[in-house]
C-alpha cells in the first residue's frame, strides 16, 4: 500500500486537478454560467449592460435565498416541497402585522420565527416519526398554501414599511453596478453558510448524514439532532427570503411564487448539489440561481417566449441530474 512517490508525481497532479473539480462541485456550474453570459452578450446588445446584470441578480434573490435553505436539506438527502409556500405565508404575515401598526422589525422577527417554526415542524415529523421528507413537506405545502389564502382572503397586502422594504430601497454603485442591501445580505448568507458547511463540525456532520446516515450514527453523530438543526436553519433562511420578496415587490401576494418550491430545487440541482445527498455547496446553489435568472433574462431579450424558457430550464435540470448520476457511476 505504500506508494513510491517519485514515479507517481506526474499522475498525482492530474489526479489532484480531477480531485479539485470533484471536491469543488461549483466549478461545473460556474463554467455553465460563464458560457451563458458569453452567449447572451454576443447575441443581444442589452444583456451585458450593468443595469441589466444588476436586474438579473435582483431577480434571482428570492428563489436563490430559498434555495440556500433547500440546499442544506438536500445535502442531508432530504427535500423540501414547502419552502417557497412557507416564505409566501411569511410575507403575508409580516405585511399584515406592519399594516396593523406593528414596528417593521418586530413584524420581521415574528415572520422569521413563523418560518422557523413551520420548518422545525417538518423536521420534527421527519426525525421523530421517521416520515419521508417528500411526503411531510408535500403535505405542509398543501396546508401552508391554503392557510396563506385563508389568512389573506386571497387578497394581496401592500406594505410601505421601511424595514420590510429596506432590502431594495437603497441602491449603491459598486464598480458601476447598482447593488441593493438584498444583494449584500444574500452574499453574506452564502459566505456564512459556506463557512459553516466547510469549516465547522456541524457542516461535516450535515454532509456525513446525507452521505450515509448509518455510518454517521456509528461514528457517534446524532443524526436526528443534525437533521432537526438543518430544518430549523432552513426555516430561518425562508424567513429572510420572505423579507427579500417584500423588498422586490411592495405587495405580499398569496399567489406569488406558485412554482417557487420547484424553482428552488432547480437552482440547487443546477448548482451541482446531488439529490442523493452528501455532495454539493451553497456557492453552487448561488450560481444555479444565477443561471436560471440569466437564462430568463437572455432568452427574453433574444425575443424567446416564456414557455420556451421553461423548456430550456427543464432540459438543463434533467441534464444536471443525469450528469450527477453518470459521474457517480464511474466510481
Amino acid at each position: 500500500m505504500t506508494t513510491n512517490t517519485a514515479d507517481n508525481s506526474k499522475k498525482y497532479t492530474r489526479a489532484q486537478l480531477g480531485e479539485y473539480i470533484l471536491r469543488t462541485p461549483a466549478v461545473g456550474p460556474a463554467l455553465a454560467l460563464l458560457a451563458a453570459i458569453l452567449i447572451f452578450s454576443l447575441t443581444t446588445d442589452t444583456f451585458l449592460e450593468l443595469d441589466n446584470l444588476s436586474l438579473v441578480v435582483a431577480q434571482s434573490l428570492v428563489i436563490g435565498t430559498i434555495a440556500l435553505g433547500q440546499t442544506l436539506i438536500i445535502l442531508t438527502a432530504g427535500i423540501d416541497l414547502s419552502c417557497a409556500s412557507i416564505a409566501v405565508l411569511a410575507t403575508l404575515v409580516m405585511a399584515d402585522l406592519a399594516v396593523g401598526g406593528m414596528p417593521g422589525w418586530v413584524a420581521l422577527l415574528l415572520g422569521i420565527a413563523l418560518t422557523s417554526a413551520i420548518a422545525a415542524l417538518n423536521g420534527a415529523l421527519i426525525t421523530a416519526i421517521r416520515l419521508p421528507p417528500f411526503i411531510v413537506t408535500l403535505g405542509m405545502f398543501t396546508i401552508v398554501t391554503a392557510v396563506a389564502r385563508i389568512y389573506s382572503d386571497g387578497q394581496s397586502i401592500p406594505t410601505t414599511d421601511g424595514v420590510l422594504r429596506w432590502l431594495s430601497t437603497q441602491r449603491y454603485l459598486f464598480g458601476g453596478i447598482p447593488v441593493t442591501n438584498g444583494m449584500t445580505i444574500a452574499l453574506i448568507m452564502v459566505l456564512g453558510l459556506a463557512y459553516a458547511l466547510a469549516k465547522t463540525a456541524w457542516g461535516k456532520h450535515v454532509y456525513a448524514v446525507g452521505n450515509d446516515p448509518e455510518a454517521a450514527r456509528l461514528s457517534g453523530i446524532s443524526v436526528r439532532r443534525t437533521l432537526l438543526s438543518v430544518y430549523i436553519v432552513a426555516g430561518v433562511i425562508y424567513g429572510i427570503a420572505a423579507w427579500q420578496a417584500l423588498g422586490r415587490v411592495p405587495n405580499a401576494d398569496p399567489n406569488a411564487y406558485q412554482i417557487g418550491n420547484l424553482d428552488a430545487i432547480t437552482a440547487v440541482v443546477l448548482g451541482g448539489t446531488s439529490l442523493f445527498g452528501g455532495r454539493g455547496s451553497v456557492l453552487g446553489t448561488m450560481i444555479g440561481a444565477l443561471i436560471v435568472a440569466t437564462l430568463r433574462s437572455g432568452l427574453t431579450q433574444a425575443g424567446i417566449d416564456d414557455l420556451y424558457q421553461d423548456v430550456a430550464t427543464g432540459t438543463l435540470v434533467i441534464a444536471a441530474v443525469a450528469l450527477d448520476r453518470l459521474s457517480r457511476r464511474k466510481q
Binding site: T2, E214, A215, L218, S219
Partner: protein
C-alpha cells in the same frame, strides 16, 4: 495469558431479539488485557450483534456488560467510544464523499483554540490533518494524500482508514468485524500486521473472522459463537482448526472442563432451535 488479572471487557447473558429472530440468546463474553480474541461462528450466528452490543450500537434486551470491572450501560456508539472502545464495523461506517482526515475525526472534530474556535466553531483542520498523517505513518498505512476522498481509495486502503481511526482513538479495546473479508491476500496480510501492531501497543483486539488460517495466525484465544451464544473458548496453541470448525458447526461440543466430544445428536441439535 493473564486470565488471573481479570477481564477488560466482560458480558453475561446478553439477549437481543428482532421480532421473531433471536440474534443473541444469552451470550457471554470475556476479553483479557493485551490479547487478540477471535470471535468465530457461522453466518447469522450473531457475532455482529454481539460486538454491536459491546460497542453501544445495539441496545440489548437483557444482559450485563462490564468494562474494567465496572458495570457499563451504553446508550449509543458515542458512549462506548467515550469509554475507550473503538469499533471497525463490518461495513466500515465511513462517509465515502469526505476525505480521509475528515473521516478519521468524524464525530469528534477538533476546534481551533481561542476565539475562532469558541465563537465561530472553526475546526483546526491543519492539526487534524497532521495528526491523521502521524497515525497513518505510525501504523504504516500508505496513502497518497490525507485529503483524498474515501471513495477514491482501494478496499484495503478504506479498511486501513477504518482501522487507523479505531487504533488512534481506542484506549481500552479495539473491535474489528471481518476486517479482511473483502480483501486480497496481500492486503489481508497488511491488516493482520496492523492488528499485531495494535496489540503490541498494549490494546486488546476483538477480531471477528470467517478465515480460520487468519484466526490461527493472529489470535491468542478463540471465542466460538453458535446460535446466538458462546459455545466454547479455544486456543490456537491447544486446538486444531478442525476442532474449532466442528465446534462452530455443532458437530463437536465442549464440556465444562474444556474436553471436546462429538455431539450426541449433532443433526437434531441444530434443528431444535
Amino acid at each position: 495469558m493473564s486470565e488471573q488479572n481479570g477481564t477488560i471487557l466482560r458480558a453475561r447473558g446478553l439477549v437481543k431479539r428482532y421480532g421473531s429472530v433471536t440474534a443473541m440468546d444469552g451470550a457471554d463474553f470475556d476479553l483479557y488485557p493485551g490479547e487478540v480474541l477471535a470471535v468465530v461462528g457461522d453466518n447469522g450466528a450473531g457475532k455482529s450483534t454481539l460486538i454491536k452490543t459491546l460497542s453501544g450500537a445495539v441496545l440489548p434486551d437483557a444482559g450485563e456488560v462490564w468494562l474494567d470491572g465496572k458495570r457499563v450501560r451504553f446508550h449509543g456508539p458515542l458512549d462506548a467510544r467515550k469509554a475507550g472502545i473503538e469499533t471497525v464495523y463490518q461495513d466500515l461506517a465511513l462517509a465515502p464523499a469526505q476525505d480521509i482526515a475528515t473521516n478519521l475525526f468524524l464525530g469528534r472534530e477538533r476546534r481551533n483554540p481561542g476565539i475562532s474556535g469558541f465563537l465561530f466553531r472553526k475546526l483546526d483542520s491543519k492539526r487534524m490533518r497532521a495528526e491523521a498523517q502521524r497515525v497513518f505513518d505510525e501504523l504504516g498505512i500508505g496513502i497518497t494524500s490525507i485529503q483524498q476522498r474515501v471513495e477514491t481509495l482501494s478496499g484495503g486502503q478504506r479498511q486501513g482508514v477504518a482501522v487507523a481511526r479505531a487504533a488512534a482513538f481506542g484506549t481500552k479495546v479495539v473491535i474489528m468485524d471481518e476486517p479482511t473479508a473483502a480483501l486480497g491476500v496481500a492486503e489481508s496480510a497488511k491488516v493482520l500486521e496492523l492488528i499485531g501492531r495494535i496489540r503490541d501497543r498494549g490494546l486488546p483486539v476483538v477480531l471477528i473472522s470467517h478465515n480460520m488460517p487468519h484466526v490461527f495466525e493472529i489470535a491468542d484465544r478463540i471465542h466460538v459463537h453458535r446460535l446466538g451464544r458462546r459455545v466454547a473458548v479455544a486456543a490456537p496453541a491447544e486446538h486444531s482448526m478442525n476442532q474449532v470448525v466442528g465446534l462452530l458447526t455443532g458437530a463437536l461440543v465442549m464440556g465444562e472442563d474444556g474436553a471436546i466430544t462429538e455431539a450426541q445428536h449433532a443433526v437434531t441439535a441444530g434443528l431444535d432451535q
